[in-house]
């Protein structure tokens, strides 16, 4: 008996989604037409070995050119895409996916378990030195026991794995093995997937033209004949392009609050907002003074007036966060243990500490980074603490954080379908990402329990208890929840939720 078959026998089915349930359309979809998408960044390419990790602009293109095994439905649950159904082992360390049959890549190569496995093995191979490999270290191996079955063997349990792999990231989208083998270095700019659109042309720095895949497996889709992706790096002119009709949908964020508010008042435009999970967060280094004392940490957290800060940095668009999960998460806490805003209490705590509170905080060397630093500096000054702003390059922050060369550093919990991967990495004792250097047996117990429990109510309780513990110890704090924006012409319909900040236009149509 093969190893795979042995594993398969132990499996318990959770969902056997036999039919691809089509949501009843609210409006009739129209076929034809073309749209232009205004993006923030220029796309460097699609080959994981070259670009490593996709950025927000590449996600948009990847969502059109490639497919993933699973996708998120409107409720934020995993739904079938190239995989039709899945089962897991008792310990959630092995997941088996049954693949859709008869799917072909744009170059005619059949999509099957072997193709998927080759995609995975290529990223994992140490000889390829892929930057993308870090994000799949928790996958021990991928097996392809038959043409339409893929098995993931994980190093740690993951109860929500099908949801975790839905993002159109460089790890999850599936490339044609024939294409990367024949094109070599050129593959990066000539991607081939199974997705609803085929790359037709790409002028460096200017436009990428994607055309409808006539043989797409999801019959009747896509609706638009053509999608043109254009990098429009300047926020002002990007918005002007939308207003003048040169772009049909543009990427935007809270930095550009004025234009978002202008668009809200314009009947010809639609503001698409998605209140994601995750938050903008900050980590104290609890191994160094003054943050080795919980009173100092609590005082600083209690001195932050989030609504005022939101007003200062984004005209009030930023939504205050009191836990790391955010409104978009399925984790809803009655009590997340958030410390109240209380300057008097903060002053008292610092007085009780007895020594001067002086420290440096890392911020990104951007206007926004500087502004956040200055606002926090003012709050903390009122409570009697002196913070010195240390501006560093965006790329320096992770390096400094991983080597623990900081007292206080900004960080981010991104919008993921499940809190486990990030919470476990950020707070489990001994994890390289546990930036606070804080270790607590109860916290570890809760994190371990949450990742092997299938019951959502139980997991919610675990994560809320985790939040209470972190808030009480104030090892990290959260300022604002993640919110994602896209502004479009009101004629553009069928735009889905902006999961993980991905502007996915592959399901849209023009009215």
């Amino acid at each position: 008996m093969t190893n795979a078959a042995a594993v398969a026998r132990k499996r318990v089915p959770i969902f056997l989604v036999a039919v691809f349930a089509l949501a009843t359309p609210v409006q009739a979809q129209k076929s034809g037409g073309s749209i232009t998408v205004g993006q923030e960044l220029e796309i460097a390419g699609f080959d994981p070995l070259k670009v490593g990790v996709y950025d927000t602009s590449t996600f948009t293109a990847a969502a059109a050119i490639f497919d993933t095994l699973t996708t998120l439905n409107d409720k934020g649950e995993a739904a079938p895409k190239l995989a039709l159904s899945w089962t897991h082992s008792d310990d959630y360390k092995s997941w088996t996916f049954k693949l859709r049959e008869g799917v072909k890549f744009h170059d005619g190569t059949p999509f099957n378990a072997q193709a998927f496995k080759e995609n995975f093995d290529r990223q994992k191979d140490p000889a390829n030195k892929c930057r993308c490999a870090f994000y799949i270290t928790n996958v021990k191996e991928v097996l392809a026991p038959d043409e339409h079955t893929v098995i993931f063997n994980l190093t740690d349990p993951s109860v929500n794995w099908p949801a975790v792999i839905t993002i159109q990231s460089s790890n999850n989208v599936i490339h044609s093995p024939t294409a990367w083998k024949t094109k070599g270095d050129d593959y990066n700019r000539n991607p081939v997937g199974t997705g609803p659109y085929i790359l037709k042309s790409w002028t460096a720095g200017d436009r990428m033209v994607l055309e409808k895949n006539p043989n797409y497996w999801d019959k009747g889709r896509p609706y638009l004949d053509r999608i043109i992706l254009k990098p429009l790096p300047d926020a002002q002119s990007r918005f002007a392009s939308l207003q003048s009709g040169e772009a049909d949908i543009i990427w935007d964020d809270e930095n550009d609050a004025d234009n978002i508010m202008k668009a809200q008042k314009d009947s010809k435009l639609t503001v698409h907002t998605y209140k994601g999970s995750g938050a903008q967060v900050y980590a104290f280094n609890t191994k160094v003074p003054p943050f080795d004392d919980v009173r100092v940490r609590q005082a600083l957290v209690m001195a932050i007036d989030r609504p005022k800060m939101s007003q200062a940095i984004s005209n009030g668009l930023s939504r205050p966060a009191s836990n790391p999960y955010g409104d978009g998460s399925w984790v809803k806490c009655k009590d997340d243990g958030a410390l109240p805003f209380d300057v008097e209490k903060a002053k008292a705590l610092i007085k009780e500490y007895g020594k001067p509170v002086e420290f440096k905080m890392l911020v990104t060397a951007t206007p926004r980074g500087r502004m956040i630093g200055q606002v926090l500096q003012q709050f903390w000054k009122r409570a009697g603490a002196n913070m010195e702003i240390e501006q560093v390059d965006q790329a320096t922050i992770p390096t400094r954080a991983f080597t623990r060369q900081f007292q206080l550093t900004p960080w981010r919990i991104v919008d993921l379908a499940d809190p486990d991967p990030q919470m476990y990495a950020n707070f489990r004792s001994g994890s390289p990402l546990a930036l606070a250097g804080f270790s607590d047996p109860e916290l570890d117990r809760l994190l371990d329990h949450a990742r092997v429990t299938a019951d959502i109510t139980q997991r919610t309780e675990d994560y809320c208890a985790i939040s209470r513990l972190i808030n009480k110890e104030a090892i990290w704090f959260w300022t604002f929840q993640n919110t994602y924006y896209a502004l479009s012409s009101a004629r553009l319909k069928g735009f889905p939720k902006i999961y993980n900040g991905v502007i996915d236009v592959s399901t849209t149509w023009l009215e």
């Binding site: 460097a44 070259k50 930057r131 002028t203 200017d206 207003q243």
Partner: protein, 316 residues
């Protein structure tokens, strides 16, 4: 003349060498380890060390410079680790856009600057002269990103005459191509013409006081003939320099203007390379641009010599 050209060409060599050294140092001294940039922040120290060895980053600086220079002299400026494109490929794709932008900007700048300068010089100190000199000063103090946004707002959003962003190659659709270039070129030109105007104006005022102009006037020549035929050529010496230097300055302007108007030129390539820490592209582009600047200066010197024979004989 040949002697002069050869002397100037030889003088360029140390300059180019210095340029290459500086470019190399800029990229090498930027904070951040190239190996770490390529592998990502989560790379293990062993991986980083191995890649550093592969790329020769563990070698001393002088050794790395010489080996880089060796490759550059053979026409190999390296390959972007992000896109897999060579520097030369990337630059070749982008340079037509920037050249067109700079030439159009310089042309529009001259189109505004030269007639205004002549008109001002003809009646120096008059109302028109005072008004234009004041306006020139105001335009000079206006940052180009602000000009760009104002022009976009007026011509693209309000009037809808011209596109706010975008590009098509000239070979594909010449008219559409020109439409896309009007606003960006105008943005740069609005910062260009004051300099052109001020230089030419003061030179012309000086020329108009020369004896031979008085003679021409005494002969009863038409004022327009005196201005355009007798005064313009001798007054345009400084203008040639300014135009030459402007081309270098314009390259700086393209960084902002190409980003705002989403033109896929060298400026955008450079900004993107800085943003993504693509040091190979950064190094290569800066080197090519600096060499371009040196060459433009050489051409200016040559033009000088043509315009004023005293220069090539070493009298001036």
């Amino acid at each position: 003349m040949l002697n002069f050209v050869v002397r100037r060409l030889l003088a360029m060599l140390p300059v180019l060498l210095a340029v290459s050294l500086l470019t190399f140092l800029i990229a090498s001294l930027l904070p951040g380890d190239l190996a770490l940039v390529i592998l990502g922040d989560q790379a293990t120290p062993e991986n980083v060390a191995a890649l550093r060895r592969d790329m020769g980053l563990d070698q001393p600086l002088w050794w790395r410079y010489l080996s880089w220079l060796g490759h550059v002299l053979q026409g190999d400026l390296g390959r972007s680790f992000r896109t897999g494109q060579t520097v030369l490929q990337a630059v070749a794709e982008r340079i037509p856009v920037s050249l067109q932008l700079m030439l159009m900007a310089e042309f529009i700048g001259l189109l505004i600057g030269v007639p205004v300068a002549i008109a001002c010089a003809a009646r120096a100190g008059g109302a028109f002269d005072r008004f234009m000199t004041g306006s020139a000063f105001a335009m000079l103090s206006m940052p180009s990103f602000l000009t760009a946004i104002l022009l976009i707002y007026l011509f693209a959003v309000e009037l809808r005459w011209l596109p706010a962003t975008g590009y098509v190659p000239f070979t594909e659709a010449p008219l559409a191509n020109l439409r896309f270039f009007v606003l960006p070129a105008l943005t740069l030109a609005l910062a260009e013409w004051p300099g052109i105007m001020r230089v030419l104006r003061s030179d012309m005022i000086a020329t108009l006081q020369e004896d031979y102009i008085a003679l021409a006037k005494a002969k009863g020549l038409k004022p327009s003939r005196i201005l355009f035929v007798h005064a313009l050529k001798p007054s345009s010496l400084t203008l040639v320099t300014v135009t030459g230097i402007n081309i270098g300055r314009l390259l700086g302007g393209t960084l902002i203007v190409e980003s705002i108007f989403a033109l896929p030129g060298i400026g955008r390539l450079l900004v993107g390379a800085i943003y993504t820490r693509d040091l190979v592209i950064l190094q290569g582009v800066v080197l090519l641009v600096a060499c371009g600047f040196v060459i433009v200066n050489f051409i200016v010197d040559m033009l000088y010599a043509v315009l004023d024979p005293r220069i090539r004989h070493g009298h001036a």
